[in-house]
């Protein structure tokens, strides 16, 4: 008898939950953070809209969206790197995001031309140095361009050219300075490598902490992650030894890239999708984002995490269109191949 009771309760519960979640939003994402999942849960709590997720590699998701066409169950595509958003936009996967609220929060250079996509968070690709060896004054005014100077021979740590962040950085150089200048620059940079490119961004920062290299190029939020202690004591100690220099402050400004999202053309839950994006840009969600991923917020009312804002807040950002990265990504990759950037 007891069993029957349990069973019927379960049955009732499952019917009930289905009832509650009649309303849903379907997301394809290439961001695999736990903290994102927690955000989705609070969105559901707040609105009663269920969030369904498939997380995978960006390009594979784009391919799936393309093939699915108008059958696609997806409402939203979330990814890192503006190049990926540009690619999806070029395939005509997105529809316009019509929301006054969103337009007010997201600056124009961090949106698609016709609001096909929007930024959810920012990161900067910056220079890390060892505080025991250099003072801030030593490196004042250092630009991305300077990194190819023979002065830095065997002193720079950076990861492989397989990495999208590097491809975007080079693409932004091409957008700014043209291909032949950038190729020469990259050639010089490769000659300055302290070691064969290996490991992730944090491995580059650790190399600087351990004196295996003088300068590392990596994304800003990784230092926040290391300093948070979430990566263990070793990384915490390494993180304490280094500081951030925002490059090219007298020139184009520090390289900025984004995590962003767009609404899929065939979306059957457009209103929910808008609600979701508005939620992601809300102060509550942005606060959660910056405190967990240490990215920079898009919503101006939210401060970056203290762990990362201590290195400076009012740095000059390169405000060129992030969508240029996509346009020049292929050229950037080939250029890196030509100069032997492994």
């Amino acid at each position: 008898m007891k069993n029957i009771n349990v069973l019927s309760t379960l049955l009732a519960l499952s019917i009930f939950t289905n009832f509650v979640f009649l309303s849903e939003v379907n997301i394809y994402t290439s961001r695999h953070y736990d903290s994102d999942v927690m955000l989705y849960e609070s969105f559901t709590e707040l609105t009663g809209i269920k969030v369904n997720i498939i997380s995978s590699k960006s390009q594979a998701l784009i391919e799936r969206l393309r093939s699915e066409g108008s059958n696609s169950p997806a409402d939203i595509f979330i990814t890192v790197d503006a190049g990926n958003l540009w690619k999806a936009q070029n395939y005509g996967l997105f529809r316009r995001i019509n929301s006054k609220k969103i337009n007010e929060i997201v600056p124009k250079n961090l949106r698609g031309e016709n609001n096909e996509w929007i930024a959810l968070a920012k990161r900067s690709r910056v220079i890390f140095y060892n505080k025991d060896i250099y003072s801030k004054a030593d490196l004042q005014g250092l630009s991305y361009k300077d990194l190819s100077s023979p002065k830095w021979k065997n002193k720079i740590a950076i990861r492989s050219s397989n990495n999208l962040y590097n491809q975007s950085l080079v693409a932004s150089m091409i957008a700014k300075y043209g291909e032949s200048y950038t190729e020469n620059w990259a050639k010089g940079l490769v000659e300055n490598f302290a070691r064969k490119p290996q490991g992730n961004d944090r491995a580059q920062i650790i190399a600087v902490a351990n004196n295996e290299a003088d300068l590392a190029i990596a994304n800003s939020y990784y230092l926040g992650l290391m300093l948070s202690g979430k990566k263990g004591e070793k990384q915490l100690n390494a993180g304490k030894k280094v500081s951030i220099l925002f490059p090219s402050q007298n020139e184009e400004g520090a390289h900025i890239n984004i995590s962003g999202a767009g609404i899929i053309k065939s979306s059957k839950n457009y209103d929910n999708a808008i609600k979701f994006l508005e939620f992601m840009l809300s102060e509550q969600a942005q606060k959660h984002l910056v405190e967990n991923t240490y990215e920079y917020p898009i919503n101006k009312n939210v401060e970056p995490s203290a762990l990362i804002s201590q290195f400076g807040l009012n740095f000059k950002e390169n405000i060129s269109k992030v969508s240029d990265f996509g346009k020049f990504n292929s050229a950037a990759l080939k250029l890196m191949d030509r100069v032997g950037w492994q």
């Binding site: 379907n26 695999h32 953070y33 736990d34 369904n52 997720i53 498939i54 997380s55 995978s56 590699k57 960006s58 390009q59 594979a60 998701l61 391919e63 799936r64 093939s67 699915e68 066409g69 059958n71 169950p73 690619k87 492989s160 050219s161 397989n162 999208l164 491809q167 064969k196 490119p197 290996q198 490991g199 992730n200 944090r202 491995a203 650790i206 351990n210 004196n211 295996e212 990566k231 263990g232 070793k234 996509g326 990504n329 292929s330 990759l333 080939k334 191949d337 030509r338 492994q342």
Partner: protein, 543 residues
């Protein structure tokens, strides 16, 4: 009644054929790219990177082949012919590394051997060395990759050659002894040449899996043909050229399969007319026994124990609430379900195809079955693209109008991917199982007025129990490890253990990845332990 018989007969003939055609379609779609446009990116690839990719891939294959052959054949020979210290448990334990996916071994390797890795730290603490001293050489290179693949994949060679050694006629070996061969000569001049077909069958699997891998080589920053495929796709945004590169990879594999076929056709003599006697294993003592033990233990240690220690280390360091969370248990359930489904379908299918082939299924059936084996060598993500394209073709023209749901993103796509990916494993095992059954058995049964189907169920099935079970288990263990195709084909909110691991590992959050990774290995162990049991019991001539 006659009509029904006729219908059944035709169904048995055509159903597998139709199924086969469905299965090879995704592969064909990938190959079709060869007949498409060749764009400017080819110039770039050809001039700057392709030679490097090809050279690295060849070096990788050569290195992995040599090392895994030494490990696989060496352990198989020692286990079959000698008694030595700890052999009783090593005999089954030696295939445990099969439960460890290469990408997980790669992650643990860098965790151990990077300059600040745990193994280096341990050495430093033990011998109070300088903080910046690194005792172990860098593993993030092609040598590291060779070690990772060889030590996770050698069990395939151990499995095939062990079977062959076991089935090898003792009289031949004894004849060799009478001719005055010592142990080394017996091994190199008699035993190894006799098991060469089995060795090559195992080696083909090792090579295909090595070539299709992306995770491990990416992690070690070794630029292979496969990383090139993804660089082209992800970096140049050029899926078409990436598919063309994949097609070339497949054609390259055809070459290996042809060799394997050729060798297998010569295999029949191995079993013909052998009389099996209870083996008299030579007992090794003292130093020799120790050497044999070390030789068999070290692949187990490097390929299984070491990664488990490091993963456990991580899991303890980062005590995760995930280990028995509903999330992981769900993933476990999904993994097990998919493994069982794929294992059953794939094995039954391979059985039918090979049964039809045995009674002259026709060239098309034979060819397309071999063609399907190529799926094993295709990088999972590319295979997934083939499946997505195939399914959306059906969706857009058919299901959309009739069924109201789409095949893309349904579990059907996943099952299809697993079957294509693991068919080579099932087919290899089942085919060699059929070959071990003498044709005269069929003739006798037929002359006794048995129908072919009756032979299949009453004669073949019982004789092939081991092969059927082996195939089933190998497929399951492959499905448990499969990652890239799962990642892109799965329905909403559907995680497997490999996916859960990846989601952390992709960010190199190895501490969090450790718990699901341990689960993968433990789950993978279940079929592997059954498999070891099978080998142990499979020896004919046992008393």
């Amino acid at each position: 009644m006659a009509l029904l018989n006729q219908f059944l007969k035709n169904m048995f003939r055509f159903a597998p054929l139709i199924f086969l055609i469905i299965l090879i379609t995704p592969l064909v779609l990938v190959l079709l790219s060869l007949f498409g446009e060749y764009n400017d990116n080819w110039n770039h690839l050809y001039n700057y990177v392709l030679p490097n990719y090809v050279v690295n891939s060849i070096l990788l294959i050569l290195g992995v082949s040599v090392l895994s052959t030494i490990l696989g054949v060496g352990t198989a020979w020692l286990m079959t012919n000698f008694d030595f210290a700890n052999k009783s448990w090593l005999e089954w334990a030696v295939i445990l590394p099969l439960a460890v996916p290469p990408y997980i071994l790669a992650y643990t390797f860098t965790g151990l051997f990077d300059s600040y890795g745990s193994a280096n730290e341990l050495v430093k603490t033990l011998f109070t060395l300088d903080e910046n001293y690194a005792f172990f050489p860098n593993v993030r290179n092609i040598f590291g990759a060779i070690i990772v693949f060889a030590f996770t994949l050698y069990p395939y060679i151990y499995l095939t050659t062990r079977m062959a050694f076991i089935n090898q006629s003792r009289s031949l070996i004894e004849a060799g002894k009478l001719l005055g061969f010592n142990n080394w000569a017996l091994f190199f001049r008699l035993a190894v040449p006799l098991v060469r077909p089995a060795l090559i069958a195992g080696l083909a699997l090792v090579i295909m899996e090595t070539l299709s891998d992306f995770g491990a080589v990416e992690h070690f920053a070794v630029q292979t043909f496969t990383t090139g495929i993804f660089r082209t796709w992800f970096g140049m945004y050029d899926l078409n050229t990436a598919m063309q590169l994949s097609s070339i990879l497949m054609i390259f594999i055809v070459f290996f399969i042809l060799i394997e076929r050729y060798e297998r056709n010569r295999m029949s003599f191995t079993y013909a007319g052998s009389t099996f006697k209870k083996t008299s294993k030579k007992k090794l003592r003292g130093f020799k026994s120790l050497c044999a033990f070390v030789f068999c233990f070290s692949p187990l240690f490097i390929g299984f124990i070491l990664p488990i220690i490091e993963l456990t280390n991580w899991a303890i360091f980062y005590p995760s609430e995930y280990f028995f969370s509903t999330n992981i248990l769900n993933s476990l359930f999904n993994t097990a379900t998919m493994g069982l489904i794929a294992g059953i379908i794939c094995t039954i299918f391979a059985l039918f195809i090979n049964f039809l082939n045995r009674f002259g299924g026709g060239n098309f059936l034979k060819l397309s079955s071999q063609f399907l084996s190529l799926g094993y060598a295709l990088p999972g993500l590319v295979l997934a693209v083939g499946i997505i394209q195939f399914f959306s073709l059906i969706d857009n023209n058919l299901t959309k109008y009739f069924l109201g749901f789409s095949l893309v993103g349904s579990l059907l796509g996943l099952v299809l991917a697993y079957i294509i990916k693991a068919y080579a494993l099932a087919n290899n095992t089942i085919e060699s199982g059929f070959q071990r059954i003498s044709n005269s058995i069929d003739d006798v049964s037929l002359s006794l007025n048995g129908s072919k189907l009756k032979i299949f169920f009453k004669v073949h099935m019982p004789l092939m129990k081991t092969s059927i079970f082996t195939s089933f288990l190998l497929v399951i263990s492959e499905v448990i490890k499969e990652l890239p195709a799962t990642l892109i084909l799965r329905p909403f909110n559907f995680d497997t253990l490999a996916v859960t691991t990846y989601i952390y590992a992709a960010e190199e959050r190895m501490y969090e990845a450790a718990s699901p990774a341990i689960m993968i290995v433990l789950t993978g162990l279940i079929p592997i332990i059954f498999l070891s049991q099978l080998i142990r019991d499979s020896r004919p001539g046992k008393s």
